[in-house]
Amino acid sequence: MDLASAKVIGAGLAAIGVGAAAAGVGYVFGSFLQGALRNPAAADGQQGRLFIGFAAAELLGLMAFAIAMIILYAI
């Protein structure tokens, strides 16, 4: 296998991590909605924590994307 095709396969494998982060972000917002619908009065005070959880989950997917870009363009 030459380097060019190995790079494309590696970038594709790294893109799996973005999908995993999508599941994480969906779980964060889904759990928030579940809690918010049970107690709508307390939901507005928790928006900051919602976005912190969202940021933590999203960062890992963005890192997978960064690794895919590094494999594709920087090696």
């Binding site: 900051g48 912190i52 969202f54 960062l59 963005l62 994307f65 960064a66 870009m69």
Partner: protein, 258 residues
């Protein structure tokens, strides 16, 4: 691949000199990045200037500016506490600069050659320096207020000794990764979104040139680009908000020590 040329999504991030040229003995060059930073700065200046009329019954513009400041002020107050007002200037500066730079980088002026908008936040040098300033504020405030007691941030109270030995390196690493992750997040979000827009924008043109079934694909891609552009506006606001709230949380760690 007979229809179109090679797609080059990285070309939009190239920093080009506008005045002067890159040479070894000439480190100060006016680039398109610097030009767009000045444009963002000017826009923020006029936006804030329009809202500072201090009228008793505020107009629309003043409500917009006061609402934005009040939003960040509430957030800082909620996460830091009564001392938070001291740190509002930096948090608000970072928030509004990221917001305006992200939004202005999304402007669809790519057709006009000279007015091509450059997203300054799609360079890690910009967001990395901003996150380093946040980290420096955290370190400075922590050591200024608490002295060497600041290191108890890495030692959660009320856990047995064995757990402390395990927890110390974990807490330390998670603390030291903060400036990296804080700067990486807005940078990658803008970077990824612009690559996506560029690639699908190329698909629109190439599918149209191919003719036949390509025109259907071209229309689908056009709708997708419109949808992603709307999503990019949301992401631009969310990333600025996340940067501001994480900065105020980290400062809260340094001020209140858990």
């Amino acid at each position: 691949m007979a229809a179109g040329g090679k797609i080059d999504p990285m070309h939009q991030f190239v920093i080009e000199p506008i005045a002067g040229s890159f040479q070894a003995n000439n480190p100060f060059v006016f680039t398109n990045s610097a030009l767009w930073m000045l444009i963002v700065l000017g826009t923020i200046f006029f936006f804030m200037l329009g809202g500072m009329r201090r009228e008793l019954i505020p107009g629309r513009w003043q409500v917009a500016v006061e609402g934005l400041i009040g939003f960040v002020d509430d957030m800082v107050h909620a996460s830091i506490g009564p001392e938070g007002r001291k740190y509002l200037p930096w948090v608000f500066t970072a928030f509004i600069f990221l917001l305006f730079a992200n939004l202005m980088g999304n402007m669809p002026f790519g057709i006009v050659k000279a007015a091509h908008p450059f997203t300054v936040t799609s360079q890690f040098t910009i967001t990395g320096v901003m996150s380093l300033i946040s980290f420096a504020i955290v370190l400075g405030v922590g050591f200024w207020k608490h002295g060497l007691h600041f290191f108890s941030l890495f030692m959660p109270a009320g856990v047995p000794l064995i757990a402390k030995i395990l927890l110390f390196p974990i807490e330390f690493i998670s603390f030291m990764v903060r400036p990296f992750s804080l700067g990486l997040r807005p940078f990658i979000a803008m970077f990824a979104g612009h690559i996506l827009l560029d690639i699908f924008g190329n698909f629109v043109v190439q599918g149209f040139n191919a003719g036949g079934g390509g025109i259907g694909i071209s229309i689908l891609c056009f709708l997708f680009v419109a949808f992603i552009s709307a999503l990019e506006l949301l992401v631009a606001a969310i990333q600025a908000y996340v940067f501001a709230i994480l900065t105020s949380l980290y400062i809260s760690d340094a001020v209140n020590l858990h």
